[in-house]
Structure formats: structure tokens, C-alpha cells
């Protein structure tokens, strides 16, 4: 960014452009089972970012040579709707979407008990319906909920958040404007119960000390998102048991 179009991302009181403090998440809400055909689905809103994820499987693999004899294959597509961005995005997958699909798949694969379903495939589809920063993270948060909704055995949920460095300050959960002008953007995802970092990318420059601090900050956000994920799952379970009690 050249200096002439530099915008103030943090004011003198330490408030960010949307009024948050450096360690605040944006408002998040999530729901599972939003789609009927998919075996599992979830919708996640994080500030202006809106993503929907669906899981199909375990199911038969086509073409068959993609199957593994000892475990399930996992396929993942992260895709952005043409109307999700400021300028219309072509629906054909971009290099960015292909890369993100890969790192998201690897993150999710680390928690799925794939060996339980040899010779099958689990398909995970993530659609970004509105992009306002942190879409891969919201996508991962949603996809792991969709896996749980599909009843696929997983070691843990995955919660994700992006940490950024703006105007020299480390901040949690950057939005699109912050992302465009930031000095560093570090998306990370964890299997929180195991303290495992399953996705980590950095775009920008941080000192080694800042890197540790950024991960610390990310962890804090991830634990909050993790709690919301568990609440979302429990809420659905409680409602369905209550409903079945009325019926019987």
C-alpha cells in the first residue's frame, strides 16, 4: 500500500474500524442441519462473512482408482459464490481456491477416523456466500460442524481464526478491510482438545516473538469458537430429544 491511500485501522483509543478491541472476535452465529439432501451441513456467520458447508459420505468412490484399500478418501472443495465478493468472481475455481481446498482438506483429514471406512469417499463442500475476511477459517469451522452433523466419527472439532498485524498491533479475526491493508495475515486452525495446530499459513512478515504472540492470540479466539461449536451441536441434540419426547 502506498502512503497516500493509507487508512487508519486502529484509532488512538485502540479501537479497530468496526469498533472492536484488538482481541475481540466479530459476532459469530452458527447452525447445523440447514440443508436437507446433504448427510451433514452447517451455516456459519462471522461478522460479514457467511459460509455454508455440506458433507456427503462416506459413499462409493467414482472413479474407483481414487479409493484407498485401508481408509476413506477425503475430497474437499472450497468455493466462492460469484456474488460473494465486491467485484463479481468468476465461478471457475481460481488458483487460490484450489490451494485453500487442499490445506482445508489436510486440516480436516487430521481429525477424521478415515480407517473406519476403507474404499469410500467423504466429500466436503464449502461455499462462501459472502466474503468479508476469514473465509477459509469460517469454512473450516463450518465444515467440521457438518462432519459432526453427518455423524462421521472425528477426534475433535476444528475451530479456526485469522490473526493479523495492523498498524504494528496483533489483532484477532481480521475482516476484509483489515486484511487488505494489514502487514501480516495468519490464518490458523486447531483441534482444540488436543492442542494441535492443523492449519497454519502466514501472508506477510512477523518477528519470531510476534509469531509466538500471534499463535497465543489465535488460540484464545479458537477456544471461544470451539465453545460456540459445542453449544451449537448440543442445542440441536437437546431440541431433537425434546421433540421426540412430545411424540412418544
Amino acid at each position: 500500500m502506498s502512503s497516500e491511500d493509507k487508512i487508519v485501522l486502529i484509532d488512538e483509543k485502540g479501537r479497530r474500524i468496526d469498533g472492536r478491541g484488538p482481541e475481540d472476535l466479530r459476532p459469530i452465529r452458527m447452525e447445523i442441519g440447514v440443508l436437507k439432501n446433504a448427510d451433514g451441513s452447517a451455516y456459519v456467520e462471522q461478522g460479514g462473512t457467511k459460509v455454508i458447508a455440506a458433507v456427503y459420505g462416506p459413499r462409493e468412490v467414482h472413479p474407483r482408482h481414487l479409493a484407498f484399500p485401508d481408509r476413506a478418501a477425503i475430497r474437499c472443495r472450497y468455493h466462492m459464490a460469484p456474488f460473494s465478493t465486491s467485484e463479481r468472481k468468476s465461478p471457475a475455481p481460481s488458483r487460490r481456491e484450489i490451494e485453500l481446498s487442499k490445506v482445508i482438506r489436510e486440516a480436516l483429514e487430521s481429525v477424521v477416523f478415515t480407517q473406519l471406512y476403507p474404499r469410500t469417499v467423504i466429500d466436503i463442500f464449502i461455499e462462501v456466500l459472502q466474503a468479508d475476511g476469514g473465509t477459509r477459517c469460517a469454512g473450516l469451522t463450518a465444515a467440521s460442524l457438518a462432519l459432526a452433523d453427518a455423524g462421521i466419527p472425528i477426534r475433535d472439532l476444528i475451530a479456526a481464526v485469522a490473526v493479523g498485524k495492523i498498524d504494528g498491533v496483533l489483532v484477532l479475526d481480521i475482516n476484509e478491510t483489515e486484511d487488505e491493508h494489514c502487514e501480516a495475515d495468519m490464518p490458523m486452525a486447531m483441534a482444540p482438545s488436543f492442542n494441535e495446530i492443523v492449519l497454519l499459513q502466514l501472508n506477510g512478515v512477523l518477528s519470531p516473538e510476534e509469531t509466538s504472540k500471534a499463535i497465543e492470540l489465535g488460540k484464545k479466539g479458537i477456544m471461544k469458537i470451539y465453545e460456540l461449536q459445542k453449544e451449537t451441536l448440543k442445542k440441536k441434540y437437546e431440541l431433537s430429544t425434546r421433540r421426540s419426547q412430545v411424540v412418544t
Binding site: L35, A54, P82, E87, P93, L129, Q130, A131
Partner: protein
């Protein structure tokens, strides 16, 4: 997807008594809900549900060059994506023949009635015009995608605000979202799809019924009562009498769909509400 022969039998035998498996009468739509303004970042948007079928439409407005044979008109581009979340056999990749057919049916219905006033969408005649990208996203497929996608498309157009085009000092055209005016919509149009099974006509066939349909006729009806497009699909045929009967039913049912759009336009909604609304 194959449905067991036994189900086909029960669908047919119930239709003898003018009943359908889900309890509807032959001319009855499933529950319909439409929400507008669900994607704030898009210039226009709507989510339509017909039963468990869910269609999301987002409209982006951009600047481009006009078609050489229509230098004084804006451009409307309709595209449909059957995203793989929606159905087990929808696959990633470019739109297949069904998605292209659907987009073209909707495109023709909009064009024939001049639903969007493209002549008023020029910026510099012959050089720069507005491009309206209408992108249809099928999120859940439970039959009758045509009607749901048309409903969402029409509602999204009526929800669209066109940003003001401004030239900067170097002559580049920029769009100013802070100064936007509603898209000029001349007319409204909806599609009513009518299936034929066992010689009977049924409105709004669901997925289960679509599997046993002999043929289907999708009829576009304008708010001035005209028939603005038709598409017959399926392997079997219609007689002239059946087509006439179908047009009569479609004209009648179109009023319900226009009323749903009117209701939806009263207030902008959110995707959160729209996804949770089951009619």
C-alpha cells in the same frame, strides 16, 4: 436417483383420487418462502424456498463494453450453478446441460418481457454500459428448480440497487455504491412448472414426483398475463388440450407467486432468517 417401482405405483394410484404423496392436491404448491437482501455485499439478492428446494440468487453490477450489435444497451448475464452441496449427484465443475438449460429458460423469460430496462443501462453509449450478473445458486434440490430459481431471480432483481457510474480524472469509470438507485424493472415474471404423470397434470412436482414424470412443461407468466416462454422437458409428450389446460393452471397459480414476491419485498431480510424459514 431411482425410486422404487412401488412408490411410482402409489403416486399414480393416489393421483387417481386427486391426491399426492405429500398430502397436496394436484394444483397445490408446496410451502413457499422468499427473502430479499440476504447478501448485503451483492447489489441485489434473494433466497427462495419451495418445500425443501432452496435457490439463492445474487446480483452483481459491473461496467463493461456493450455487444457490438446492441451498442446502446446494457448487458444482462444469467448463470446457474448447481453446487455440489445441493444434491448427491451434483458434481464440481462447469454448469452441465441441466444448469445451462435452467439459466437460459430464466434468461429468455426476463428478456422477452424486457423485465430489466437494458436501454436505460448505458453509461457512455456504444462504449460503456452496465453489466448485470445474475448468478443462481441451487443450495438444496428437492424438485422444481425452475420455479424456485425464477422466483429468487425475480425477487433479487426487484431488490437490486444500481451504483452510480462516475468517471475519475483519468476517464476511468468507477461505481459509487453510496449513490445507488433501484434497478428499473418494467415487469415481473414467474414460472409455473406443470408435470404430467399417468395422464394427470400436477403443479410444482417435487423430486420424488419428478422421477416418475412422463413430461414437464415450465410456463413463464408475465404480470400482464402473457405467456412469456415455455419449455417442455422429459421423454414423453403433451397433447394440445393438455398444453391449454397447463397454461390455464399456470396463469392462475402465477398470482400466488406474484403475491409471495410482493410480501417478500416489504422488508429486507437476512440469510440467517431465510435459511431457517420453512414457509
Amino acid at each position: 436417483m431411482l425410486i422404487p417401482k412401488i412408490k411410482k405405483k402409489s403416486i399414480l394410484s393416489m393421483l387417481e383420487k386427486d391426491l399426492r404423496l405429500d398430502g397436496r392436491s394436484p394444483n397445490q404448491y408446496r410451502d413457499i418462502s422468499v427473502h430479499v437482501g440476504v447478501i448485503e455485499k451483492a447489489e441485489g439478492s434473494a433466497l427462495a424456498k419451495i418445500g425443501n428446494t432452496v435457490a439463492l440468487v445474487g446480483i452483481k453490477v459491473g461496467v463493461g463494453t456493450p455487444f457490438p450489435d446492441l451498442p446502446d444497451q446494457g448487458v444482462l448475464a444469467v448463470n446457474a450453478e448447481f453446487v455440489p452441496l445441493a444434491f448427491p449427484t451434483f458434481e464440481p465443475g462447469p454448469p452441465d446441460e441441466n444448469a445451462v438449460e435452467l439459466a437460459r429458460i430464466i434468461d429468455r423469460s426476463l428478456r422477452e418481457l424486457d423485465v430489466v430496462d437494458l436501454k436505460k443501462m448505458t453509461i457512455i453509449p456504444g462504449e460503456k454500459v452496465y453489466i448485470i450478473w445474475l448468478d443462481i445458486y441451487v443450495l438444496d434440490h428437492d424438485g422444481n428448480l425452475t420455479d424456485a430459481c425464477m422466483l429468487a431471480s425475480m425477487a433479487a432483481l426487484l431488490n437490486t440497487k444500481v451504483p452510480k457510474a462516475e468517471a475519475d480524472d483519468r476517464g476511468f469509470i468507477k461505481l459509487n455504491k453510496d449513490e445507488a438507485t433501484p434497478l428499473l424493472v418494467n415487469r415481473r415474471v414467474v414460472i409455473v412448472s406443470i408435470g404430467k404423470v399417468g395422464g394427470k397434470l400436477i403443479v410444482d412436482p417435487n423430486l420424488e414426483e419428478e422421477q416418475v414424470l412422463e413430461a414437464k412443461l415450465s410456463i413463464s407468466i408475465g404480470d400482464n398475463g402473457v405467456v412469456a416462454g415455455m419449455q417442455k422437458t422429459g421423454l414423453s409428450s403433451f397433447t394440445q388440450e393438455e398444453v391449454e389446460k397447463a397454461v390455464e393452471i399456470a396463469s392462475d397459480k402465477s398470482k400466488e407467486l406474484f403475491a409471495v414476491i410482493d410480501e417478500a419485498l416489504k422488508k429486507p431480510s437476512s440469510l440467517w432468517e431465510a435459511l431457517r424459514d420453512n414457509g
